[in-house]
Amino acid sequence: MTPGGASRVLAALALTWLTGRALTRRLAPEMGRAESAAWAGAAGLLFQAALFAACAAVGLDPRGRWLLAGNGAAIAGAFLIPAARRTAARSSPVDGRDPWASLLAAVAASAWLVFLIAAVAEPMWSTDFLAIWGMKGKTIYLAGSLPGRLFHDPALYWSHREYPLLVPLCLASIARLAGGWNDQALAFVFPILELWTLLLIAGFMKRRTGSRRAAAAAAALTALCFGLYHPVNAGTAEIALAFGAVLAATAMLDSARALSPALFGRACLAALFCAGAKQEGALFSVLLGVVLLIARTRRATSRRVAAIFLLVPAVHGLTLRVLRGPATSRDFDLGFFEPGRWADLGVRFGSVLARIVTRETALGWIAAAAVVAFLIVSRRGFGDLLLPVLIAQGFFYTVAFSLSAYSPEYAVDSAFPRIFLTLFPVMTLVLGARLPPPPGTDAGT
């Protein structure tokens, strides 16, 4: 990777963030700088993907100068609307200096640095990058459009034609802005996504608990999740999905407090980011909506946010369906839902569960035991609202593995750790919210 290639991609990412910052001026009135920076990153990436897709849809080759002009117009347009007045009244007071918080923040920063170096040390190489995300991104980048054959060509039957397109579109638009497809420099996208995830977790925890220690602990736990932040995931949707899930989870937890009307915008953005990253993200958004509807938070705000979490993935899925036509997955055999095969499905469900417990959980049993023990001994926290969502998501993963068109054990071994770990950053919100609050703060509200 040449310094020029790296600097062009970093400049494109900086422009993406600046555009997102302008677009989210009204979305984050009560947030600190860390959280605002993360939401700006998410909005910027969604904007780049949408701009590229819009150019392609009207037959305009999305050259760098068109994209630059689009970004400029978005920034100028955003500044015509007055920014939301900053409000800090509902945030918890933040505790003073804490050496543990500084240490944990240093751990998080060091772990992030490790992933940064590992991710950009060589061109992205994982099988899923070559076969799915990178192949689609490079094709879209070079074609300057969304070639229909990505969705219908039988020769690409293995490329998961049904997957959503946020990651390929982001890679293509960043490459266009950077002036070339450099599959080593483009790897910077993924450590930056991790950085935004860490900033979001730390900023949210600090705002809601008032505890620097809880904020740094949650961020450090996330950064130390090397199973997720590993070079094999550079170039795939998992890191983007983890970011989207944290965006949606924080919006969901905020909805229980009805902090500001900006929350609806954040919920829309988060739900769209989740659904655009991967189908698991759409499922996560729907589950957030369902849990909000049946939880005891009866505020009208919660119900509206629930509606957003339910509707946005549906609208996104419908739009994809209209634009590209039907695209079925080769991974699942839905015939198992037929009454005559329910017994088979039950047997498969049992073997998937057994495989998860005896192999996958056994591999990470120390971490799993620590999480369970902490949940048992700690007091309930405001993040517990996410537990039913995480459990339900795990249940649906188990069902999905049971429907595998191949051996369910093979499906578990090849995909379970990867997709399960995308939920871990959300889990750190649950864990961080259960840490004892610093004296004199109203943590847990």
Partner: protein, 61 residues
């Protein structure tokens, strides 16, 4: 372009499709739709008149 590579591991095919994007890369079953045929190593012999490349050959159909 039709591509003849060993069926396992899959990454032979994925890597070729990625590097040749946005070209359409086909497997042996769809060789009739291809303008060129690339053969990796000894995966399928080599066609008459094929150009020899490092680790394989390339021919026009």
């Amino acid at each position: 372009m039709a591509l003849l590579v060993p069926p396992r591991p899959d990454v032979y095919r994925y890597q070729a499709v990625y590097f040749l994007a946005p070209r359409r890369v086909l497997d042996l079953e769809r060789i009739s739709e291809a303008q060129f045929v690339a053969i990796y190593g000894g995966a399928g012999g080599s066609a008459p008149g094929a150009e020899t490349l490092p680790n394989g050959s390339l021919s026009r159909r």
